[in-house]
């Protein structure tokens, strides 16, 4: 009897409005930071946020900024990023970061306001079909029409965003549902029956992989962002595996830091702008172990010439990644961390590693390495962009540093010349290649790590896409450093125009540029300009010293191009190396047929 009484009391305490439920559900899912922008359709939720302190709301200047900030937050912490936006334009502005998070497997929970249920479909003010628009750019999405389902839906959204292959989710909440009263249900562990990502790898397959690896004479490990997503344990196990096997290792853009760049088996990044040794080793290997990567077209080059003589082991949590672009001889479906645990254990138990047998392979790799494919010509008068990154790297050594980037040449130079020894330190838009990602992402990282040194390695064009978040950084005293490699060009576009379009530089030169130093000041930040190589170290030191958001306008050689490069449609062993990249070679690197297809 008294039990029934308690139940009733408990029910009463769990009765609340939809808006209260949103805040309660966020708290119950461990959310402490929320990136957002208000509007009519989310005012009840904003009213609840106003009346509590457990969750800090970060007011961005554009919803795209909220999304990338949440992505940076997620990538640097391993926790989901959360954003809150209003209906209509708020939701459509969120589309770019949603697709970005989908392509890079980032756990992102996006709450959107919607017009009242009774008005849905009537072209009401600020109405849009949010679930329709975001269906193809989310892992899953929901329109909640019943307040009694709101809490469970938000819990499920967190569950789906963070488990299996992580990704973005949207919960669309009509305004009347935010006002309505209902019963709050706490998070529970009875997820829907149709969703069970497979995490444990098939032991027989892992055994077969270990046997294959034990016989390899020219092996290579090719790891990707999946290792980082799997968590720090997976990176640790990857390091153990490399140590045990003595195999060389390369990684995709998204996977940098899982294996330390200072490690002795590291070959550098692979792919279109990867190192010569990494790409040649991929091409000539006899056993390839692909761990949490997906054989993206920027990685493989020409598919029918991709690593023609190797047996391929592919570990991935998403069955659709396997055999999508490249056929796997030993496919292993599961969470990278779990599979690596089994793999390391089996290797220890069953293989007596004969590292001597790999000597000829390492000697071959040393010859490739000797080509020094990241070399560039220094200049005493102009700052070479590669040099700027190298100095930045040296200046940040030993500091608690996080790097984000925009998209373009500077992104590739950052990947080549900044070296990462830990996972979760490198935030870049890989799959979608979103210009404007880096500045808000840096903001998100800084919110998560207030005392860290967070630098956005930016391009002059990209940074202008989301520059308004400087204002947000100033408001929250987030001392992010925007390090612009200012070449006055959309350098990467120009490079392709040189390669493919007879050097006709159609609209890739920015004729009017803001004064970035004054712009920084206008926002209430600090501006620095550097034009000479000799001044660079002092200027970087100043940037690191200043406890404010900084825009660093680093004037670099305008016409430098990014090499080495696998030109359009070439194979890994057909790279264009910097010392061969004469003007003529660049102009002829891709033939007419290639031009049509790019």
């Amino acid at each position: 009897m008294s039990n029934g009484h308690n139940d009733q009391r408990e029910m009463q305490s769990r009765e609340m409005t939809g808006a209260e439920m949103v805040v309660q559900a966020l708290k119950d899912n461990g959310v402490v930071h929320l990136f957002g922008y208000p509007g009519g359709a989310v005012l009840p939720i904003y009213d609840e946020l106003f009346q509590q302190d457990a969750i800090q709301h970060i007011l961005v200047r554009h919803e795209q900024g909220a999304g990338h900030a949440a992505e940076g937050y997620a990538r640097s912490t391993g926790k989901p990023g959360v954003m809150l936006v209003t209906s209509g334009p708020g939701a459509t502005n969120a589309v770019t970061p949603l697709q970005d998070a989908l392509m890079d497997s980032i756990p992102l929970v996006c709450l959107t306001g919607q017009v009242p249920t009774a008005l849905i479909g009537s072209d009401a003010f600020q109405e849009c079909d949010t679930v329709g628009i975001t269906r193809p750019c989310t892992k899953h999405n929901w329109l909640v029409k019943d307040v009694n389902e709101l809490a469970a839906t938000i819990h499920e959204a967190f569950h789906i965003a963070t488990t299996g292959r992580p990704g973005p989710v949207v919960v669309d909440i009509p305004k009347d549902v935010q006002f309505a009263r209902g019963i709050y249900t706490p998070p529970q562990t009875a997820p829907r029956t149709s969703y069970h990502p497979r995490v444990q790898g098939d032991l027989e397959k892992i055994k077969a992989a270990v046997e294959l690896m034990a016989t390899a004479r020219k092996p290579i490990i090719y790891s990707g962002g999946g290792v980082i997503n799997s968590g720090p344990q997976a990176s640790q196990l990857l390091r153990e595996l490399v140590e045990l096997t003595g195999f060389p290792i390369t990684s995709t853009l998204m996977g940098l830091g899982a294996y330390p760049a200072s490690g002795k088996n590291w070959l550098g990044m692979l792919g279109m702008h990867g190192t010569y040794e990494a790409n040649m080793a991929m091409h000539d290997c006899d056993v390839m172990v692909c761990i949490g990567a997906r054989f993206d077209d920027r990685i493989t080059g020409r598919l029918n010439a991709f690593s023609p003589n190797s047996k391929k082991i592919h570990i991935d949590i998403d069955p659709s990644s396997i055999n999508k672009n490249v056929r796997a001889d030993v496919p292993i479906i599961g969470d990278v961390g779990r599979v690596l645990e089994d793999m390391v254990r089996l290797w220890r138990a069953s293989v007596k590693a004969d590292k001597k047998a790999l000597h000829p392979w390492w000697e071959q790799i040393a010859r490739w390495r000797a080509r020094d494919s990241l070399a560039y010509r220094m200049n005493d008068d102009v700052i070479m962009p590669q040099y700027a990154i190298q100095r930045l790297f040296e200046a940040t050594k030993g500091k608690d540093t996080y790097i984000t980037t925009e998209v373009g040449q500077h992104q590739m130079w950052a990947a080549q010349h900044f070296h990462f020894d830990q996972p979760n330190r490198w935030m870049t838009s890989g799959g979608l290649g979103t210009m404007g990602y880096g500045l808000p992402a840096a903001l998100g990282v800084q919110i998560a790590h207030p005392d860290a040194l967070v630098i956005d390695i930016a391009g002059d064009a990209s940074v202008q896409m989301t520059i308004q978040e400087m204002s947000c950084a100033v408001q929250y005293e987030a001392p992010i450093k925007i390090f612009i490699l200012n070449n006055q060009y959309m350098g990467m576009v120009r490079q392709w125009q040189q390669l493919l379009h007879g050097n006709r530089l159609s609209h890739s030169y920015t004729e009017a540029m803001p004064d970035f130093v004054m712009l920084a000041k206008a926002y209430g930040g600090h501006g620095i300009r550097c034009e000479k190589p000799g001044d660079l170290d002092d200027a970087i030191a100043e940037m690191i010293e200043v406890k404010k958001p900084v825009i660093f306008d680093c004037r670099v050689a305008a016409l430098a191009n990014c090499f080495p490069m696998i030109p359009s449609g070439k194979a890994h062993n057909e790279m264009l190396l910097p010392d061969e990249a004469t003007d003529e070679a660049v102009a002829n690197a891709i033939d007419a047929r290639g031009r049509e297809l790019v």
Binding site: G132, P136, R192, S568, G569, L576, L577, A592, L597
Partner: protein
């Protein structure tokens, strides 16, 4: 190296397809919730897959389950991708390629049936002929007056095709087809 001397394709290398396309029938068990069909169809259009026939209806009301049957065409590699991509959709419980399963069971193909309503209008000899042919096809008359018939015909798609072709010169007015319903023979479920 010397890449500039070896002209080739593109960074978006479009490999020549060497596999032959095949027609397969897929059964997809899904939670019957708003938007689930849009997710399935959106996947097909978004990734450039074909839909030759689509049938959907709730099959287990208490469990809120619907069964979608899709006839699609693609190379074996694409068909494998379609299955995996469908399985990624959160409310999808399972996907069975009935065509593959029937081969595994040592059968030629899954059981496939379609229902069509066929309206034929006419007088005189054409009308008699239509009725006679409908009888031969075991189509039943479900509505009629002196100037028209509506036939209901059930069978394999090819039989329905044939029936419609024959009715064309006899005063065919309109057709409604359900699309393919399919399952594998034998005692096991999907």
């Amino acid at each position: 190296m010397n890449a500039q001397l070896q002209p080739t394709g593109s960074a978006y290398f479009i490999a020549k397809e060497t596999e032959k396309p095949e027609t397969h029938t897929l059964s997809i068990l899904v939670d019957n919730e708003p938007g689930v069909l849009a997710r399935v169809i959106g996947l097909f259009s978004g990734r450039g897959y074909n839909i030759e026939s689509l049938t959907v209806s709730e099959t287990e009301h208490e469990k809120h389950l619907s069964r979608i049957t899709i006839v699609t065409r693609g190379t074996p590699h694409v068909l494998e991708q379609i299955k995996h991509q469908l399985e990624r959709i959160v409310p999808v419980h399972g996907v069975v390629d009935l065509t593959v399963r029937s081969k595994e069971l040592g059968q030629e193909r899954p059981l496939e049936r379609e229902l069509a309503l066929v309206k034929v209008a006419g007088k005189g000899d054409d009308r008699v002929e239509a009725l006679r042919l409908a009888d031969a096809f075991r189509a039943s008359v479900i509505d009629a007056n002196t100037e028209h018939f509506i036939f209901e015909i059930t069978g394999k798609g090819s039989k329905v095709d044939q029936f419609i072709a024959i009715m064309k010169p006899l005063g065919l007015v309109e057709i409604c087809r359900t699309g393919v319903a399919a399952m594998n023979r034998g005692p096991q479920g999907m």
